[in-house]
C-alpha cells in the first residue's frame, strides 16, 4: 500500500498514516459510489479532488458501495497517505474542489491499517417514503413517492419489529449476490411519520451489523405492503422464516435510500 511509485517518487522515506473521511452525497447524479470508467461516480470525483490536493493516487476503502441514485449522509472512506496536510485544511481543500453534491463532513486521523469496509461494526440506513396524491417537490430526488392511498405507519412499525434480532435475511436479499452467510443482526428498526413536502413523510430507519444486497430497499417494499393493508404485520415474520425472496415485497426504488452513519470501534 502507498507504494505506487507516483506519490512516493523520491520520497520513499515519508511515513504513511491513515485517515478516516466522512462523506455526504446527493446520489441523484451518480452511477453509485464505486468508480467506473465512463460513468460519473462519487469515488471518481473524490479521487480527482484528492489527487489535485495531495498529488497522490489514492486507494480508498469505503464502508460499502452505494448503488446509483442512493444518497449518503455519512459514508465513511479510509485512505492511507503520506500527505502531511493537516486534516482541517484537507477538508476545506477537498470541499473547494468537489462538485456541490458531494461534501466532506469530517477528516480525522484513523488507526494504522484502518479499513472502512472490514472495520465497520454497525451501519444505519434510512429509507424515505412520501405518501400523498400530489408529487413531492423539494425532496423529489430523495423519496419514493407512494400515491396509491394511505400508509398505516403503526402497522409498518409492528411489521418491522419482527425483523429486529439475529436472523437469516435470505428472503430480503436481491437474488444474484454471493455471500457466504445471509445471517445478520438488526439492532434497531423504527418507522416515523410527519407532514412534509405536500404529503406524509415516512422514514424507515434501520441499524444493523451488516446488510445484504438491496436488503433495506426490500425491507421498505415489504413494510409498504403492510402499511397499505395488503398484508398483516405478522406476515413479515412469515416472509423472514420462508427464506424465499419471492415472498417479500418489491425492492423499493433507490432514490429513497440514505446511508446515515457507520460506526467503528
Amino acid at each position: 500500500m502507498g507504494d505506487n511509485g507516483v506519490a512516493n517518487e523520491g520520497s520513499q522515506a515519508r511515513p504513511t498514516h491513515w485517515l478516516k473521511l466522512t462523506v455526504a452525497y446527493d446520489g441523484a447524479a451518480y452511477a453509485g459510489w464505486q468508480w467506473q470508467p465512463s460513468e460519473p461516480t462519487v469515488q471518481g470525483v473524490l479521487q480527482d479532488a484528492w489527487r489535485s490536493i495531495t498529488h497522490e493516487e489514492p486507494c480508498f476503502t469505503a464502508s460499502g458501495r452505494t448503488d446509483a441514485g442512493v444518497h449518503a449522509e455519512g459514508q465513511v472512506v479510509g485512505v492511507e497517505t503520506t500527505s502531511t496536510i493537516e486534516p482541517r485544511r484537507l477538508l476545506r481543500g477537498l470541499n473547494a474542489l468537489l462538485p456541490d453534491d458531494v461534501v466532506i463532513r469530517a477528516v480525522e486521523p484513523a488507526p494504522v491499517g484502518f479499513h472502512a469496509t472490514h472495520d465497520a461494526l454497525r451501519k444505519t440506513y434510512r429509507y424515505q417514503v412520501l405518501s400523498g396524491p400530489v408529487p413531492p417537490l423539494f425532496d423529489r430526488k430523495h423519496v419514493w413517492h407512494w400515491r396509491a392511498g394511505q400508509l398505516d405507519t403503526e402497522r409498518m412499525g409492528q411489521g418491522g419489529a419482527y425483523l429486529v434480532g439475529r436472523h437469516d435475511f435470505a428472503s430480503l436479499e436481491s437474488t444474484g449476490s454471493e455471500r457466504s452467510s445471509t445471517v445478520r443482526t438488526i439492532t434497531d428498526l423504527t418507522v416515523t411519520s410527519r407532514p412534509a413536502d405536500g404529503g406524509e413523510r415516512i422514514d424507515i430507519t434501520v441499524t444493523g451489523d451488516g446488510f445484504l444486497y438491496n436488503m433495506v430497499r426490500t425491507i421498505a417494499g415489504t413494510l409498504v405492503e403492510v402499511g397499505r393493508g395488503a398484508k398483516p404485520p405478522e406476515w413479515v415474520a412469515e416472509v423472514l422464516a420462508s427464506r424465499d425472496r419471492g415472498r417479500a415485497g418489491q425492492t423499493a426504488p433507490p432514490q429513497g435510500l440514505f446511508l446515515v452513519r457507520v460506526e467503528y470501534a
Copy 2:
C-alpha cells in the same frame, strides 16, 4: 375577461368561472414567477401546461411575484376560465405536464372575480439559514449558508420581536421600489433552530398583511447581524425607527426564501 377570441371561438355562450390554484415550486431553475420572453419562469411553464389542457390562453393573477431563485410551498394563482374540466382532473393533468420542479398542490373553485393579488389578507414567508463550517448538501439550493461562526437564535428571536406590530418598514425595503405606503403589519415572527444537513438549520418565519420589496430577505440579513453578535437585539428597534435602509443588515440571498402560504377571506 375571458373574451379573447381564442378560447371562446364559437362558444360565446359558455359561462366563465374562477379557480384558485395552490402552486409549489423549487425556484432554483427559474428567473422568478413572472413571465419573461426569453427566460424560464414559473408563470411561463404554468401557462404552457394550462394552454395544453384547456385550449385557453390564461390570464393568471398571483399572490405576488417571487424573485429568481425564490421558492414557494403555497403560491396562490387565480384564473378565470370557461373550462368545464373538473378541478381534480385539472390538477392531475397539469401536474402530468409540468416539469418536476413545479407542482400544483390544489385546484379549488373561487368566488366570482377572485384576484390572487388584491384579495390576499395575509402571507407567510420562511427564510432558511444553514449555519456551520461545511457546505450544505441536500438543501444546498434552499438555504443561505452561514459559515462565519455560530448564530445565537435566542437573540435573533429577541431582535425579531421588535418587528411584530404595525410599523413603517421603510428601512427594511430594497430601494428603488415605488409603493404609496411603507406601513405594514407583521402579526407573527418566530426563529427556530434544529440540527440538519451537516449544520444548524435556522428558520425565520414571518406572517404579515403585506411585504415590501425584499423585506423578508432584509429582515433575515438584519437578524443575522444580531445572531452573530455584531449588534444587540434592541438595535432592530433602532433600525426600524430610523426608516433608513442604510442602517439595516444585508439583503440575504434569494435561495433561502420560501413563500409558505397565502390566506384569503
